[in-house]
Amino acid sequence: MSTAVLNPVGLLPRHGLLQRYKRELSVLAAYLALLLLLVVRAPRFYSSNEFKSILVNNASVLVLAVGMSLVILCRQIDISVGSQLSICGIVAGLAAKHGLPMPVAAMVCLFAGAMMGALNGVLIAFVNLPSIVVTLATMVILRESLRWGRSGEFVQGLPKGFQWFGFSQDAGQWVVVGLAVGVFAVFAWAMRNLSAGRTVYATGSDQEAARLAGIRPRLVTFVVFTIMGALAGLAALLNVVRFPSVDPKSGEGVEMQVIASVVVGGIAISGGRGSLIGTLVGVMLLGTTRPALPFLGSEAYWDKALQGLIILLAVASDALYARKKGRM
């Protein structure tokens, strides 16, 4: 009965690739449907530079979503990533302004992110506080200390090598997208092919079972939050180099978009289940809806409502699937 329910037509092989990535594939199908709709209803979408700017604008979201995938797979959450992003952006800007060469400024930015992530990690993994509370606190603390430190002031007068890493706009855009995709590829590979990746899944599935298997769940959790921080640093860099000056509020509200992308991509909020491939599709789906809406003749402000609907659909389908599975 089980296979009949899960595999109504009998087309999918029982344990092959299609079966394993069924959830990801259904999101991909939804995304392709959206792209197809655009082809039919608004071919202009493709002729304008819209698609490229979607990629560039979502590069930092993708990098954050990679980190968030790890965090959620570990059965945790990090809502302080927006604040981390703002701070790292400012750090990168100030470092470059003070004459540090761009690669060094980038390292400083990543380091700053890793430190903030490590702070979260220590409090969650070793002090054993719930991640939602810890990161809610650090979100507010980081945001308010930035407001206090910068009083909303942009970092201006950046050196030439800052915007687009000193490349031309066109080349710079591809560098930004390339870096994001590269980071994604490395993590997607590592989560599947390194034992470290599997310990994240094990910790998120059942922390006690993981501990009994000789894994150190606290260490895993700590490292995951630190990686999240470092990736927030990188994402900040990819975010701020698009502009001639650095906005101290560049990261506000981004955490919700990131978490939504991860959830839509099929990573279970209860941890231990899902893949980074899904995250990629989730980021693309949610990243495309907003710019696509005007082309489809709707007002752009419906964007949030539509995103909410997509999230609900994704979560509801997971719940239905789980119930079906529970019944067999």
Binding site: S195, Y201, A202, L212, A213, I215
Partner: protein, 502 residues
Amino acid sequence: MSTLLKLTGIVKSFGGVQALKGVSFELKAGEVHAIVGENGAGKSTLIKTITGAHQPDSGVMEIDGQAVHHPTPSQAKALGVAVIYQQPALFGDLTVAENISLGLERGGAWRKINWNTRHKRARELLGRVGANISPETFVRELTMPQQQLVEIARSLGTNARILILDEPTASLSDREVDHLFNVIRDLKKHGVGMIYISHRLEELPQIADRVTVLRDGTYVTTRPMVEIDRAEMIRLMVGRELSAIYPKINLPLGEVVLETRHLSCSESGVSDVTLAIRAGEILGLAGLVGAGRTELARVLFGLTPADGGEILLRGKSAVISQPADAVSLGIAYVPEDRRRHGVILEMPVSANTTLAILRNIASVSWLHFKKEKQIAESFVERFGIKTPSIAVPVGNLSGGNQQKVSLARWLATEPKVIILDEPTQGVDVGAKAEIHKLMGELAAKGLAILMISSELPEVLGMSDRIAVMHGGRVLKTLDRTEATQEKVLELALGHTAAEVAA
């Protein structure tokens, strides 16, 4: 005396296992009726049938001569059944009066609470059990025995006439026991019938009027307390031949692999445990539930690290402060309750099998899928794990096969010592025999096995030596040849070696 409760021919199965095979029982008003039996004799199932938590498959239950069909917990409660569990089930953050009034007061969620009546009634009920506790105290501030009295007071408030006391004296001091017994005697005078479950056989003559013995889910006998002594009770509780054939092979034992000297852990109550296990040996760890066997295993595996004594591996002192230490020293632990933590249900058979041989997160070692497949497939074949493929989540397999996957995970680490905590609990007879056979083979290969089991025949059938635990200590280690069910049970009940010999 009138009959309050009468059970006739109660049968109850879980899955394929018959927990109660036609048990009969009778309770009269003003009587204390003790039920005794080993772990798994069916005491808890019987209690749960009376309270309506389980529905019997067949058999008749009568309360006050009226047949009760398919009782529900609320129905049983309305008919005057109340249970006092070993661990009081009260709300710690509510006051005594609030706890007592829960379920007693009529009216919906919007009724107005009359605090005066509530406190007055609580005081009166507490007075009846001789408890000098203010109704306004928070329950979490009370000691265990005080909480127990609050529970009894609460059950009196519901006009309970059938009171079930499940191991009420397990954690009480002698003086507290005396006080409890006085309360019980007083309740008897008021016509309350009590079912009394206890492993402390020696206290039964003080309090019980009759005793019923259960064994392996069957009713053995009911006798007046004055006509039976402790030795007779134990004989009746055990009373079976070792009929099952255990594939125990007598092997020449190797050197001592794991040794503990005065090992203690105050957090989990393990104290002064001195043991030694040799290569090729199966050391059985017997004892009643709560005797500290699993706790000892958790100390050895670093889950609750020891704070006293010594652990030696092959003669060398070892520090085990976390499971990862134990794993790297060659200790494996297949935990009890595999559904919760023995395997990761969402992960496929292959990943579960190799989970314990992953290095920790600090290493970025590659996963070799080919090798993983090889390992998993070889175990599937060797252990006869029934699974459509190694890519299937372990959650889809049967209990016995999950247990084998859990075992495979640990054998993949090539351990020197393996601790098996209730290795055959909840698996069917066929899988059980296979697991026993496997244990014999592992011992033959020189593995030292520490087996925790609540099943006496299994312990006696599989072990080379048997260490019997009680109250966190090892009371005595018996040799295979000298161990009998009676001796092990006597020790498990906490009688010292001298008493046993006498």
